[in-house]
Amino acid sequence: MKPGHGDLTLAEGDPELAEDEALLIETFRRQLDEGMWAAVPTVESGGKREATMVRDFSEVPRDAERVIFFPPAAGG
């Protein structure tokens, strides 16, 4: 998510392919280095929607469709 722009696709790839995985990891780290928060939306077996915050690429489920980055929260 980028303020004023909506969401932008930063990188796409299959984490099972080494080259793609390297790109995804690099993109992930760059976003976190910039201070962004990362969340993985999920759908549970009953259809309930959930989200998991992740702080390392290894925490991203292998079957995750996407990771959403957004600016960190601050007291408003």
Partner: protein, 199 residues
């Protein structure tokens, strides 16, 4: 002295005075005239379509993350809802109303009593020079709050400034929103089956 002679003399004196003092008076007037030291600023007009496109993209993202039922609830009500974490095997005792660019309001599920306003924002710190970089589109703002609440409720609440209800939002309005949400859920129960967060 005739009137004509007086008039002629006045004209002659006036012309002589203009010749004698004119340049000095002109210079004085120029000195007193405020100088324009700065060129007018060239202001870039914001593109009104850009904000609208961003909002539409954000709504599509919201739809893809929350699903049709919760997305429709957001469109109809203007806010999202999430329950707080519950202890194992127990129903959640409190929930949150998530407004775009307004505080999150926590409430007691049983009594409907409003508990707190949690003021939180997601400011863009990456590009301070970007005039559009101030805030997320509305749908992105509520989605970010929702994801942070679901993924790290304590972290988000810790980051927020907490106030008693009524600081920014009219408590009466929020209570009416709770009723509207309850009515909406009653109407859309079959469609929202399985989406426990639409109360």
């Amino acid at each position: 002295m005739s009137t004509a002679a007086v008039a002629s003399l006045s004209i002659v004196v006036g012309v002589l005075a203009a010749v004698a003092f004119g340049p000095d008076l002109l210079a004085l007037a120029r000195r007193r005239r405020p100088r324009r030291t700065h060129r007018p600023a060239l202001t870039a007009l914001p593109d009104p379509g850009r904000e609208l496109r961003a909002e539409r993209r954000a709504e599509q993202l919201l739809l893809s993350v929350l699903g049709q039922a919760d997305y429709e609830a957001y469109r109809a009500l203007g806010f999202l809802h999430a329950y707080g974490r519950a202890e194992q095997g127990r129903e959640p005792s409190y929930g949150y109303l998530i407004y775009p660019h307004k505080p999150i309001v926590s409430y007691d599920v049983d009594s409907g009593e409003l508990l707190n306003e949690h003021c939180v924002s997601f400011p863009d710190r990456s590009d301070p020079g970007d005039e559009f970089g101030e805030r997320l589109p509305d749908a992105d703002d509520v989605l970010a709050k929702w994801m942070a609440l679901r993924g790290d409720e304590r972290g988000l609440i810790r980051a927020a400034n907490m106030h008693l209800p009524g600081r920014q939002l009219d408590p009466g309005h929020v209570r009416r929103d709770l009723i509207r949400m309850s009515e909406w859920t009653g109407r859309s129960l079959p469609a929202s089956h399985g989406h426990a967060d639409v109360a």
